[in-house]
């Protein structure tokens, strides 16, 4: 948890790592569109192929993808069962009287599960190959055109930057406060839920007070360092859109095109 700032990011030197974060976010969006365009289970082969290609190019080990799926394994099982139970259909395979197992239900269950697995795996590809800092930069740049509608793109990115910076500090601090209250005999482990929530107050209040103080001091320090909003600000690390980025985007578009053609042909 301490290294939450790096998120799931696995440093690397692959072509996928080197892509502009804006490109990767855009491709991610295209990929989501792809998985939602799929209406028949075997067409998932297209986004799956796309994902495998990304995986091979990024040289990210499959176990990292597995790790990101692990927390949602119960959700997946639950979704599968839900679809299996509540989807109707014609082709009855098993009749228990009060409930019929149908071929359509089985297909639908697999269909939904595969879609979620593909979405989560794709999203983790983005976070595994892009540092949160690069992501923040990418989001800021992509949202910049929205400034015309007074959308606070810079402020949003600055907030994300500061949050990433301070999460580890606040984690350390809450650990210290917890120890201090335990030394005064506080008990965080026994009692019912209501008692336990109440026992958190001696941790939460000092943590809030400390966060406010941090915010205040940080604001002063930022002002002292000439911060005056996003106006006229430059960045040391420029995002660079290279040929590789163009190529990656074109490939993604090609995948979508193929998918659409297939969808039209096999309507």
């Amino acid at each position: 948890m301490r290294d939450i700032t790096l998120g799931q990011f696995v440093a690397g030197n692959s072509i996928v790592h080197k892509l502009d974060p804006r490109t990767k976010i855009t491709i991610m969006l295209l990929y989501i569109v792809m998985t939602f365009l799929v209406k028949r289970i075997y067409f998932f082969a297209i986004p799956l192929a796309f994902l495998i290609m990304g995986l091979l190019l990024s040289r990210i080990s499959l176990k990292y993808i597995g790790r990101s799926l692990k927390p949602i394994r119960f959700l997946l099982v639950f979704m599968f069962l839900l679809n299996l139970i509540f989807t109707g259909g014609e082709t009855v395979l098993l009749d228990l009287g009060f409930w019929k197992l149908t071929l359509e239900a089985i297909l639908q269950s697999f269909f939904m599960t595969i879609r979620i697995v593909l979405l989560v795996a794709g999203a983790s590809m983005l976070t595994l190959t892009t540092s949160p800092i690069a992501l923040t930069d990418g989001i800021e740049k992509l949202l910049t055109p929205l400034k015309v509608f007074h959308f606070p793109a810079h402020e949003l990115a600055m907030m994300m930057t500061i949050a990433l910076r301070f999460i580890p500090t606040l984690m350390d601090e809450s650990e210290k406060i917890r120890n201090a209250q335990m030394a005064r005999g506080a008990d965080f482990e026994s009692g019912n839920i209501f008692r336990r929530v109440k026992s958190m107050i001696p941790i939460l209040i000092p943590l809030f007070v400390s966060s406010f103080r941090k915010a205040d001091e940080l604001a002063t320090a930022m002002e002292s360092r000439c911060y005056h909003g996003g106006e006229g600000r430059t960045r040391m690390h420029q995002l660079r859109f290279t040929k590789a980025d163009l190529f990656a985007l074109l490939i993604s578009l090609a995948f979508i095109a193929v998918l659409i053609v297939l969808l039209v042909l096999f309507k």
Binding site: R225, Y227, M236
Partner: protein
């Protein structure tokens, strides 16, 4: 270079003014310590130098610019770098070099120029090898040196340390003081706000604050000899000076210029 003219400042809802008719002049290239107990007004004074606080009456002029004019604030803050007490609460980004770049980025400087400023600043605080490290893995002293690097990247002429050593351990404190001393040698004007008298022995000048007023403004050797004034201001002279003063009471005549252990031994041994 810095000029306070009859500056009075009152915080909202405060009965007593935090600064009371303070006039002060600080020359270019000097190394000045501002000392006082908690609540003496020393930090309030420091925050006036870069316009974080504006005088209720009187004026503060920095490099020829008055702080109470809105359009002067950014140029002044670029000239006056300020480091604060808590090493954790003044770094903005996760990665060291990105944090150092924060100031120049705010000024809208060319990316290539920022890069070279960042490298230069990290080198002058001796943290080049940490450029790509995460800030929260550093020690307190290292964090403060990064904060100083972030200031240097703005190319200021004045460095103000607002109790920047208070939360550091002795080795972190030494790291920071050594860094600041070497910057002073390159011509930087340094103002050090502190309550540790040990840190002030090598300054050109010590300004003692009490109840929002400057009660003494002189060289370290003169200030440390003002035993009563220091006691009234709730300050304790460095340990060696305390011993020196006690030995004087025993009848040993030791000059005011004795400020450290070596000098004391040098002065007292011939008397034995």
């Amino acid at each position: 270079m810095i000029q306070f003219d009859h500056v009075t400042f009152r915080y909202e809802n405060a009965d007593e003014p935090a600064l009371c008719d303070v006039s002060l002049r600080i020359e270019e290239g000097s190394f000045v310590a501002i000392v006082g107990h908690n609540g003496s007004g020393k930090s309030t004074l420091a925050k006036h130098i870069n316009g974080l606080l504006l005088p209720s009456s009187g004026t503060v002029t920095v490099c020829g610019l008055q702080t109470n004019l809105e359009e002067n604030i950014l140029p002044i803050r670029q000239q006056v770098g300020m480091a604060f007490q808590n090493p954790d609460n003044q770094l903005v980004t996760t990665i060291v070099e990105e944090d150092v770049a924060f100031g120049p980025e705010n000024l809208g400087i060319e990316p290539n120029e920022i890069r070279s400023r960042v490298d230069e600043a990290l080198a002058s605080v001796g943290m080049t090898n940490y450029a790509e490290k995460a800030v929260h893995h550093l020690s307190g002293g290292q964090k403060q040196r990064i904060a100083i690097a972030g200031i240097l990247a703005l190319k200021p002429r004045i460095l103000v340390l607002d109790e920047a050593t208070a939360m550091l351990d002795p080795s972190g404190r030494k790291e920071l003081i050594d860094t600041v001393k070497s910057l002073h040698k390159t011509g930087m004007t340094v103002l050090m706000v502190t309550q540790y008298m040990e840190e002030t022995t090598e300054c050109d000048r010590i300004v003692v604050m009490n109840h929002g007023k400057v009660v003494c403004d002189d060289t370290p050797k003169a200030v440390f000899s003002e035993v009563e004034l220091l006691a009234e201001s709730n300050l304790v002279p460095p340990e060696t000076v305390k011993v020196r003063n006690a030995l004087r009471e025993l009848g040993y005549s030791i000059p005011d210029s004795v400020l450290n252990a070596e000098q004391l031994a040098e002065a007292v041994c011939p008397l034995l």
